[in-house]
Amino acid sequence: MNFLQRHLEDPGRFARIRRWFYAGLAVVAVAEIVLPRIYPGGESHFSFEDFPAWGSLYGLVSCVAIIVVSKLIGKLWLMRREDYYDS
């Protein structure tokens, strides 16, 4: 049983990993809002980059948009059975 197995197969440890993950996200988002105010002078090319926690927000929006839009295009148009080209 390797290191990963010990951590993933024990529900208690897995729940702890999940809590650390959410804590990490919170830290990153807060850092993104707070740090530029403490250390100003970072160069941003566009005004939208100065929106609080821009990276986190855009990451979440991008991720959801990519999944939803791609699946939609796939279901409506692109996806075919695996033997599509053989028949």
């Binding site: 197995q5 993950f21 988002a29 530029p36 566009f46 821009w54 855009y58 979440l60 991720c63 990519i66």
Partner: protein
């Protein structure tokens, strides 16, 4: 070829033919020494022009060595070295010869200073890469290999056409910035051929079609050379072409969309090659010093991490025989080393700070910011989230974790792990010490990747992409389907063409064209022929038969005279003399 300059490409192409004659350990050593020698050769090279040969009154330049060709040659030969380590256990000389020829041709393209030698290596690259697909021998691979070859022969012909046109218009074969003939036919044809090799949609469907069908080790080579040598020639000839900005950004997003739908592990990675090459093409299009530096740096980093990712997926394919994500799962228990090394590649492609993608991709995105292109900037950043979503989360999740499929692969042979390890080291080294790469880029670099804002916003973006992934996980389960791409046109569209030919076209042919032929050509021709025949039988025949008959009659008459009787002859002679005398008397 002068003695002070040895072409590293020729070293590989010619040296490859030694391998079939060697055995065992000696062969293994040779397999590693060849690309190592090519790498050292490139590292020792000084900028200049070498290997100039005169053919047909044109100077062929086999060795244009400058900062741009050098940095590409480093990564190409380094990649050949890593690829050969990965392929060390393979007992198939033809694969090794094909792989080394392929790498050598890519180096040939890199150092080509004129269009003819470029074209020569361009075609050699297509043929040797097709071999790497064909040599998997499975029916699907053979079919994909031939499709690959057909597409690239088509691209090669367009390139050749463009070159000939360019030659006739400018009188020169030299390959450099094409800006002077911008918009012309030659400019367009050469650009189309380059874009085809860079897998820019709609010309790029050959890539996800062929790469997942290649041999486990062959695919690793294929990820490196064709698209990146195309990026190199685009930088060389087409930097600053506005069209490329949009094509590149669209391509980055396109690859991500298809990756959502994809079930085949190596095909998913192949779509991410298209996405990543999109950043480079976009950088070439922007064309500023920072942007071309970014395109070059990203090509360099990309070759290493993408090879690592394909090595990881190849290791799973080799030891479990599985290629579909819907059939994998739970492999982390038996392949933890492969998983760990794969994840380094995944972090590198996702541009996680301290990994190579972070220091290269950010150059292109910053370049888009610098020239104030907000839409391009947002598209590239979105594709960046998509990259992490698929290569960093979806693929490892379904391959190594997820629902336990009960499949138990084992770690691949040691040489494969060593190759993956070295590639992983390179990904981390470039990420931690970006200066190692930056000092070799074509333009001077004053770009600082590790700024506070850049690191925090990247971490935020990646972290919340991961959050989105886990929230929508149940919608992402891979499905056993394939997705339509532009290869439809030559896979099913051609079948449609056949139906068109058999149905409507055939009816048109037999009905309309056939009738016209009947009335306009066949009947008049037959009529004239009939007339001629009648004339022939009535006039010509009669005349000839008549002559024959008269001759026969005359002969019958003459025959009665030739009796063999001397008295008859004497009588006839006497009659003749009498007639002559009578004539002489009467005429006088």
């Amino acid at each position: 070829m002068t003695l002070e300059w040895v072409h590293p490409g020729l070293l590989l192409i010619l040296g490859a033919w030694l391998l079939p004659f060697l055995k065992g350990r000696v062969k293994h050593v040779a397999m590693l020494i060849l690309p190592a020698a090519a790498l050292i050769d490139c590292l020792l090279m000084k900028p200049g022009t070498y290997g100039v040969t005169s053919v047909l009154g044109q100077d062929l330049v086999f060795g244009r060595v400058d900062r741009l060709s050098l940095v590409f040659s480093y990564v190409f030969s380094l990649m050949a070295f890593l690829g050969m380590i990965y392929a060390l256990h393979v007992d198939d000389d033809s694969q090794h010869v094909a792989a080394l020829t392929y790498a050598g041709s890519a180096l040939g393209v890199t150092f080509a200073g004129d269009f003819l030698s470029l074209y020569l290596f361009w075609e050699l690259m297509a043929i040797s890469a097709a071999l790497l697909v064909l040599l998997r021998h499975e029916p699907s691979a053979v079919a994909a290999g031939f499709r690959y070859l057909l597409v690239h022969v088509f691209g090669g012909l367009i390139l050749l056409g463009g070159i000939v046109l360019h030659w006739s218009q400018t009188g020169s074969l030299a390959f450099g910035d094409m800006g002077a003939s911008s918009g012309g036919m030659a400019w367009t044809m050469i650009l189309v051929a380059f874009l085809l090799n860079a897998a820019v949609p709609p010309l790029g469907a050959w890539l996800p079609d062929a790469y997942p069908e290649a041999t486990v080790t062959g695919a690793v080579f294929m990820t490196a050379f064709t698209t990146k040598s195309a990026v190199y020639v685009l930088i060389r000839g087409y930097a600053g072409t506005e069209l490329l900005v949009w094509l590149g950004a669209a391509m980055a997003v396109y690859g991500v969309v298809y990756a959502v739908l994809e079930n085949d592990a190596r095909r998913l990675l192949a779509y991410h090659i298209i996405s990543q090459v999109g950043y480079m093409v976009c950088g070439v299009g922007i064309g500023t010093a920072l942007a071309t530096n970014g395109a070059t740096a990203h090509a360099f980093a990309h070759i290493l991490y993408k090879a690592l990712l394909f090595m990881g997926a190849g290791a799973v394919l080799q030891t479990t025989g599985l290629r579909k994500l819907s059939e994998m799962g739970g492999l982390y228990k038996t392949m933890p080393v492969t998983l760990g090394l794969y994840m380094i590649g995944a972090f590198a492609i996702s541009a996680v700070p301290l990994f190579s993608g972070f220091v290269s991709k950010s150059m292109v995105i910053s370049a888009a910011g610098e020239v104030h292109r907000p839409v391009i900037f947002l598209m590239l950043t979105l594709a960046s989230a998509g990259t992490f979503l698929h290569t960093g989360l979806k693929l490892p999740y379904y391959m190594f974790f997820g629902k336990d499929s009960g499949q138990r692969g084992q770690e691949p042979p040691r040489n494969m792990l060593v190759a993956m390890g070295l590639a992983a080291v390179a990904c981390v080294l470039i990420g931690v010490f970006p200066g190692l790469l930056y000092q070799r880029l074509p333009n001077p670099v004053d770009f600082v990747p590790y700024t506070l804002q850049h690191v925090t916003s990247t971490l935020g973006m990646l972290g919340f992409t991961a959050l989105g992934f886990f929230l929508l996980l149940k919608h992402l389960d891979p499905e056993p389907t394939i997705s339509l791409d532009t290869d439809w046109f030559y896979r099913r569209g051609s079948a449609g063409l056949v139906t068109l030919v058999r149905g409507p076209l055939a009816r048109l042919e037999f009905g309309f064209v056939g009738e016209i032929y009947e009335f306009v050509i066949r009947r008049p021709v037959l009529g004239v022929a009939n007339l001629l025949r009648n004339f022939d039988s009535l006039v010509v025949d009669t005349a000839i038969v008549g002559v024959g008959r008269s001759t026969q009659t005359l002969s019958q008459v003459l025959k009665t005279m030739v009796s063999g009787n001397a008295q008859h002859y004497g009588l006839i002679m006497a009659a003749g003399i009498l007639s002559l005398l009578a004539l002489a008397i009467f005429i006088r």
